[in-house]
Symmetry: C2
Subunit: 333 residues, 2 copies
């Protein structure tokens, strides 16, 4: 508790405060991802689960439960549940089509074949399902079932919406909730529910996770057009080359004149990209203030997250979750 | 109730008796597979769900609940749950790898790409999850969570076991439970649980579904080596050409001498098949009585199913489920 918080990133400080709980989560994840009979399962999951990542989602669950005063054992089950769902969706995102490979897109499943990615993902989903049933809490099951449906529907929606210029900001939000925010909001909400928090607190936790997830994804989309490759690990224009209709482009398309619209149709819908198209896209984005408007949206979602969290009882964890919402947008602010 | 049962197949007679319940199941399936936002979802599921199939699994749930005297609404939810899980696993089985396509194996997902098969399958899983949560019955959720894990683990196990001559009958049974029997047994078991049946009845329903599913799959494997293509719709030797280690081959491998073992290694493990290999495989299967022994196993599992069902209260539905266990093995008896 005596860490120098000023020099520490919020998720690192969270990880330090929650380290005992996180150890329990990691032990549970290791125990449940094992399979007595199918050695392929730990082979596939090990590089995903051991690599660790930031474990942001399980930390959200643990923090939410603790903020609401929980001292039972099941926040650990729910945190592991959320991480398993996240890992399963990563595996299913790894599935690629021959045509996609042929287009020269980097394939995510170089290590494992499609079939293993699908089936091991299914295994992790079923493991997460067992973990949540163990909590014996029907409301938690209801929340996670609905989140699963939102995630799957958003992922399917993205298949058709990503290259369709009719995709508007409403559809974009549905896709973003599916890709990111639905699991964030379920992660925080179930933490409150398992702690027996009142309805207003549970709603605030949902709102925080939802807004944080949306801010997170919008920042990601924005950095694809204006990030520093060294800091983001992404090349500028990756989304553009993959013909993904993200928020900056949706905003520019909404304000496009006939000629500009024809440009977006050619490069996004038809995929006939030529030398210099990315530069022209950036010109159009700047002309319509699309990057600034996208940045404003991200800041506004981060502010919503902060406002929601401020209604919860004051604590060090609450302070860190508020700091996290600032941190998520700091890269574009 | 006045149908001429003697001239009717058991599953057709079940379908007739349960027609009101099945209408409710079909209406629920149609309502829940819809998606307001993602039109790709009904496009993909329509051909699977409307084509109908025999709807064997949901009928097992309905019949089990009715045999145990249930008159509430939730057997319909559970029947739809079971059908959604079945359809989702079919979609995930559709996912293929480029290498598999190159080997000239017929691809199951000609209509839809891998990504759609995975994500729409996930959507159906999440829909099934919502349906079972609506029953508010934690024991049902526990059974279905465990069945999901058995299914996924069996499917992954099959990836590595199917071409490995060390695969024995124990491993084969695990794979078969994953592919078929775990969903059959969960289908019947949850029907009893939702009806509030006592432990012995629930166990009998589980045993019936488990044994029926195993008999069903063994018959399928056997027909691949000795079926009439006109009746089965399968060519003799499909599994052999796909290098699948099914029960007849496992039995022949267990009794193989050195030369025979080398043959199986070449054709199954290494996949270097030549003209005349299928005939030689059939010779070896006959030499060791492997087809007869496989048939005996199927009959023995069907008998187990029958014995389990006979412990339940007598009724027309019970008679039909007993007839169903005979019918499943009639093709090889």
């Amino acid at each position: 508790m005596s860490l120098d918080r000023a020099a520490t990133k919020p998720h690192e400080a969270l990880s330090a405060i929650l380290s005992e709980d996180m150890d329990a989560v990691n032990a549970l994840i290791r125990a449940r991802m094992a399979s007595e009979h199918a050695p392929r399962i730990p082979e596939v999951t090990a590089h995903l689960v051991n690599a660790g990542g930031k474990r942001l989602r399980p930390m959200l669950t643990l923090a939410a439960a603790r903020i609401c005063g929980y001292d039972g054992p099941y926040h650990v089950h729910l945190a592991a549940t959320v991480e398993f769902i996240h890992t399963a969706t990563l595996l299913h995102d790894d599935v690629v089509d021959e045509s996609a490979q042929r287009r020269g897109r980097p394939t995510a499943n170089l290590l494992w074949d499609n079939k293993s990615s699908v089936l091991v993902g299914d295994y992790l989903f079923s493991r997460s399902f067992q973990l949540m049933v163990e909590t014996g809490n029907l409301r938690v099951l209801d929340i996670l079932a609905n989140a699963s449906a939102t995630i799957a529907e958003g992922e399917v929606l993205q298949l058709t919406a990503a290259r369709d210029l009719r995709t508007d900001e409403d559809v974009y939000l549905k896709v973003v909730r599916g890709k990111t925010a639905a699991l964030f909001s379920a992660a925080t909400e179930v933490g409150g529910v398992i702690a027996g928090a009142d309805d207003a607190q549970v709603q605030a936790l949902f709102d925080y996770g939802d807004a944080l997830g949306i801010a997170f994804q919008i920042v990601d989309d924005l950095l694809d057009y204006q990030g520093d490759p060294k800091a983001t690990g992404k090349n500028v224009g990756d989304d553009f080359r993959e013909r993904k209709l993200t928020l900056p482009v949706i905003k520019a398309v909404a304000l496009a004149d006939g000629e500009e619209r024809a440009f977006w149709q050619r490069v996004i819908e038809k995929g006939r990209q030529e030398e210099g198209d990315l530069d022209h896209a950036l010109t159009l984005l700047h002309r319509h203030g699309a990057l600034e408007a996208t940045r404003d949206d991200a800041l506004s979602w981060a502010a919503k997250a902060k406002t929601a969290m401020q209604t919860l009882p004051e604590s060090e964890l609450r302070t860190l979750l508020i700091a996290l919402s600032d941190y998520v947008v700091a890269r574009v602010n």
